[in-house]
């Protein structure tokens, strides 16, 4: 039976916004699984009765079998609303029907993913049967090109463990303006450069368990170095997105004497959903640890609480750096490397507090507070002549944190923080 679902979007800011809206799981909005996602259409309903077909993208971030469908679309000129998402200011309808072809409407031509099965061997489309060892995401001439290594040592002579790190971030605007666009090493190449590598996860025991928290190294121990596999890769009109899946992690919980069985061992995977949007100078990342579940619960959105430890290594000469971080809002930071009117920022924002931030001339380390589903933005602002005085906090605080994480445009009812 055909369905028609109204999606109401709320803008929590006191100004009009045009931005992406993500619905984590279409099932939460009671959208029935369609036989074919290509047979869906999304229409903007403007006040006054006019309608406009809108491009959208459906992703399966945990793989098609897991059943989750994430819907992403762009809400243009969304009128200002209530800061607490109390009422919507834009309406869309999602229904079954032939969707207009948005493939040639601009954005898809700038979004791209290359899948590398060996150094210099790449395929534009993802073949799940091919062992992908690295992915390069592009989001257009005003954005970034980011290469993520899924394996620890892409080459036999690789000097360090690159597993899960962004090993190259090309900033297109900086490249055009200065001739040097590599964010991680703009002056001279550094083979060790890498950004946003997860080095460790911590899992906490249940409150009554008398044991220390479990530390799980993501870089390996005793000579064994784990890697990631590609669980999803998709380029559509809205974003280029990949999901990196870690090797199995064993986590045990002692439920006794309150629950049965008294000991529960879970085999889990860390999922890192990495997305790039057209022309944005950042990439977003979602971190979720999901247990392997079989049977009727297989599609339930279950996740474990953990702490994530990040590390980055920069190939910079010893230039002065400024750290923008406020203990009042410890959810973001920016490290600025400045020299002669050129300011390169390395910024991170999350919907969790950032703790234990350590910044040296070549390394940045931090960790996230205990949480379930982290959403993060890795942002690389750049300023040069003739820009005015540098606002250390503005981009990471406003663009990355406020607009993407604290108060994004949201579909109602809010499902983001719903308990499982």
């Amino acid at each position: 039976m055909p369905f028609k679902h109204t999606i109401e979007v709320a803008n929590p800011s006191p100004y009009q916004r045009s931005d992406f809206v993500e619905i984590d799981d279409l099932n939460e909005l009671k959208v029935p699984p369609a036989p074919d996602d290509k047979n869906l259409r999304l229409v903007r309903k403007w006040p006054g009765g006019s309608t406009e077909p809108v491009a959208f993208q459906i992703d399966y971030p945990f793989g098609i079998k897991a059943g989750y469908r994430t819907l992403t679309f762009f809400s243009r000129d969304t009128p200002p609303g209530d800061p607490d998402y109390n009422y919507p200011t834009a309406k869309f309808s999602l229904d079954e029907g032939p969707a207009p072809d948005f493939r040639n409407t601009g954005n898809p031509s700038v979004l791209n993913i290359e899948h590398y099965s060996a150094p210099n061997v790449q395929q534009p489309s993802w073949n799940p049967k091919v062992d992908v060892r690295g992915v390069k995401l592009f989001n257009g001439p005003e954005g970034l090109q980011v290469y993520f290594s899924l394996v620890p040592r892409p080459e036999q002579w690789s000097p360090c463990n690159y597993s899960g790190a962004a090993t190259s971030i090309l900033h297109q605007r900086a490249a055009r303006m200065t001739g040097a666009g590599e964010v991680l090493a703009p002056f001279e190449d550094s083979p060790q450069k890498r950004w946003g590598q997860l080095t460790r996860l911590d899992f906490y025991p249940l409150p009554w368990e008398r044991r220390w928290y479990q530390e799980e190294s993501m870089l390996g121990q005793g000579g064994y170095e784990p890697r990631y596999t590609l669980a999803w890769s998709s380029t559509g009109p809205m974003r280029a997105t990949v999901t990196l899946r870690s090797e199995p992690i064993q986590v045990s919980y002692g439920g006794g004497p309150f629950f049965k069985p008294p000991e529960k061992n879970l085999t889990c995977h860390l999922y890192r959903i990495i997305s790039m949007y057209p022309g944005r100078e950042f990439y977003t990342e979602q971190l979720i640890v999901r247990p392997e579940v079989e049977g009727p619960d297989a599609t339930r959105r279950m996740s474990l609480a953990f702490r994530a430890h990040y590390s980055s290594y920069l190939g910079y000469p010893d230039v002065e750096h400024q750290v923008a971080r406020s203990e009042d809002i410890p959810d973001y930071f920016a490290v600025w490397k400045s020299f002669a009117t050129q300011h390169r920022g390395l910024a991170f924002a999350s919907d969790s507090h950032v703790r234990n931030l350590q910044v040296t001339s070549s390394e940045i380390r931090w960790r996230l507070q205990l949480g379930h589903e982290y959403r993060c933005v890795h942002h690389f602002p750049f300023h040069c002549y003739p820009d005015g005085p540098l606002a250390l906090f503005h981009e990471v605080g406003h663009t990355a944190w406020y607009e993407r994480l604290l108060k994004p445009l949201q579909a109602l009812p809010l499902t983001r923080y719903e308990l499982p």
Partner: protein, 186 residues
Amino acid sequence: MALYEELFEKLFDEKPNEKLATEESAEAVRNRLKRRAREFLGNKEQADVVRNRLKRAAEEFDRHHANVFAINMCLHAASSIILSNPENLKGTLQDIQKIDVLKDKDPTTVLTVSVLYYLVKNDWDSDEAASEQSYRDQLQTLRSGFDAINWLIGDQAMNALGLIKSPPRMPVTGAIVQQQQQIGQQ
């Protein structure tokens, strides 16, 4: 010796605090640093890189509305040289801050334009490619571009550093030639 040259050469002072201890004369220190600076830029590979970057920036100047790109490329080229040889970077930056006229300027910008001026003056480059007229014209384009914005630091700081604006290029036209001849006759 102009201050901009002195600052550039100071960068190559690997032991800035040992000068007094070894009782090296000021003249000897200058010669040593000049030699080291020349050796650094005299490396053919390095010189080619610098020349190519300046050429590319000059090409940007010639493109419509691309002055901002060219200025930033030049600044990056000069910064790269400074940062690839940072033996006495901190000391040189501190020295800049001690100079009255320069102390409220960003010392990294002062140092970078000093190095850039040194580079576009082209006295350091003995390679044949550097004496080609087309390259010299390109360097002149860069100089004029930076002259137009007072080398980002203003007239006073330029004077203190010894940065001199290049004379405007005369267009080759009959009118100008005639005018010059008339001036000559007077």
